[in-house]
Symmetry: C2
């Protein structure tokens, strides 16, 4: 999707891909297949690139430092990106710049977890591996001391966090360039199902204006203080008592910003490319009153293409975005966007299309 | 741009390109470099394709018939496409289905031209080679019998047409699928400079509703009668006495439809892909009150990229579409789209950006 956004600007990508079948490898002209965890592969790949950016956060921080030392611009740079790679580093940094987070502590064993729980409201407690988790993976909601043993089995550092009593999840998406220019997209509501993002509504319905402004300010502050270049998604809890707490950070175009492809003047992908190249940023304002994004998960149909007939005929305004991935149950294989003036209608159209593509709706 | 529109639908292209540097070859993954005039090249390329389509009309009609005979779906098919390839065939067919055209006749020598002129209002007369012309090439406005010799020197058939007394040029863009579903985009005004499209305004300002409807009907009739599959652009003269006459046909996404990328719910490129695959068509309605497209021609700056800084900073809503072509004076190397509620503002922004990118405006 970043390649797609780069085409009209004449920005040409060279892609380092895990396999020749990866989504981006199917559509980018210049593809190198290799392992992003191998420094020599990265070095050979980076030669001749004007700038390096990412569609995930898993490239080892020390490899990115080595590329920077070689003189290759890496955006976002490793000193920023580490905050999206390591939840322990992220929490410590947000604490130090005064951005509110759930109560948290690095814990080293189940006894530590019990002590952490006792300092607050007791169990449940959320445990997370500090590195490598996504879409609910590497996250445990622990309701008793007995359950606290599991996360430590992998032998990696674990972060304990209070289980926040939230009314909903929000996301504040901002983009920042090396010049320091930054733009903020409208704050969205993000609805999760089984720990996986399901629906995003832009803008977040009935969000108090002061709270929306506060969320944007938090994201802009984080982008500035951490030196982020490119897109930053700040996932937030809106608590029952009216506070905003940072859940996660992502430093790349993010699922909570996919609505911008069809709903904003400039998409998150286009603005990420512009930021990474230190070009002036595009207008982040919405083009419609409401835009809804619903993820398409793999279901029982290996061939989603046959569902296009129904979905396109039913809703000529529907925007389908499929990733060319093999369909596996529960895997994110695409998303749909809808927009319009009536939120109920916009939501229904997006949910129907996503359900039909998945195979959970058959009429 | 068609590849760009295919990405979100998971439609993968295989490209037959003249050179490895062609615009599309820079961004499509699967590129074969070869000569589209060579039947064996076409046959080898077409093997394994589900369907073949085009971004120009120059593939020889008989080669396309051979591919069809091999069982490869060609869309638009050669029996339709020939009307966009051969102006003589096109004029004869439009006459036979009652679509109004400028007065015309195939002429075989300068004496014929003099006779053709005498039957109407005399000189000037427009002469066109029946095949191979575009952007003013292969077209002569002949003001005297002496000038009438030039077009015959190439030894190809020549079509004579009256020089139409028009107030402006319009374009009616429609898309038709093999199922027979068709959609019509709003009729646009197309302004030419030196025979090359410069500015497109969508919808055409101050166009009488009945005349707009008539233009859409003409384009839908042509698409149906000629069996067009995919995008059809019908370039029209609006005459001083209130008639519409067909100037040219194009059976592919067309310059007069580039505004749809940012100004319509479904772009001409997305709808061309959908039609070619016989998928239900997307909504062609505009997303903004006014959308303006201005072509970027090559100027004195070989590096247009440096102009991005000014253009993007001046207008964060600007949509730039560059083709990755080498800059040569007068060559179409990209276009810009702007949209909004105030036509004067939208026009000024597009013209300023295109002029700045070309180098004719420097502040």
């Amino acid at each position: 999707m970043t390649h797609e956004a780069g085409i009209p600007l004449g920005i040409r990508f060279k892609l380092l891909s895990d396999t020749p079948q990866d989504s981006a490898a199917q559509v980018v002209h210049d593809v190198v297949v290799g392992d992003y965890r191998d420094l020599e592969t990265l070095r050979a790949f980076a030669r001749g690139c004007d700038v390096i950016t990412f569609d995930h956060e898993h490239v080892p921080t020390e490899h990115l430092r080595a590329l920077e030392a070689d003189g290759i611009p890496v955006r976002p740079g490793p000193d920023a990106l580490v905050h999206a790679q390591d939840k322990g580093v992220m929490r410590a940094r947000l604490d130090s710049i005064g951005v509110p987070c759930p109560r948290h502590r690095i814990v080293s064993d189940p006894q530590d977890v019990v002590a952490f729980a006792a300092e607050g409201d007791g169990f449940p407690v959320v445990l997370k591996t500090v590195r490598g988790g996504y879409d609910g993976k590497g996250v445990w909601v622990v309701t008793s001391p007995e359950e606290a043993a599991e996360p430590f089995r992998a032998g990696v550092p674990v972060l304990a966090e209070e289980k926040v009593d939230f009314v909903r999840e929000l996301a504040a998406n901002v983009v920042r360039s090396p010049h320091g220019q930054a733009v903020a997209y409208p704050v969205v509501e993000s609805q999760q199902v089984d720990g996986v993002c399901d629906t995003v509504i832009a803008p977040a319905p009935d969000l108090d204006e002061a709270l929306a402004l506060r969320a944007e300010e938090m994201a802009l502050t984080i982008a500035k203080e951490l030196g982020v270049v490119g897109h930053l998604a700040v996932e937030l809890f809106q608590t029952r008592d009216g506070r905003l707490l940072v859940n996660e950070l992502a430093m790349r175009p993010h699922n909570s910003g996919h609505w911008t492809q069809d709903g904003a003047i400039t998409s998150q992908f286009a603005n990420h490319v512009r930021a990474v190249l230190d070009l002036p940023l595009g207008d982040p304002r919405p083009r419609a009153k409401w835009t809804v994004m619903v993820n398409v998960l793999g279901g029982d149909y290996p061939d989603m293409y046959s569902a296009y007939l129904h979905c396109m005929a039913r809703d000529p305004q529907l925007k389908i975005h499929m990733y060319g991935k093999d369909v596996k149950p529960g895997r994110k294989v695409g998303h749909v966007n809808t927009y319009g003036d009536d939120l109920d209608d916009v939501l229904e159209r997006a949910r129907h299309a996503a359900g039909y593509l998945r195979g959970t709706i058959t009429e």
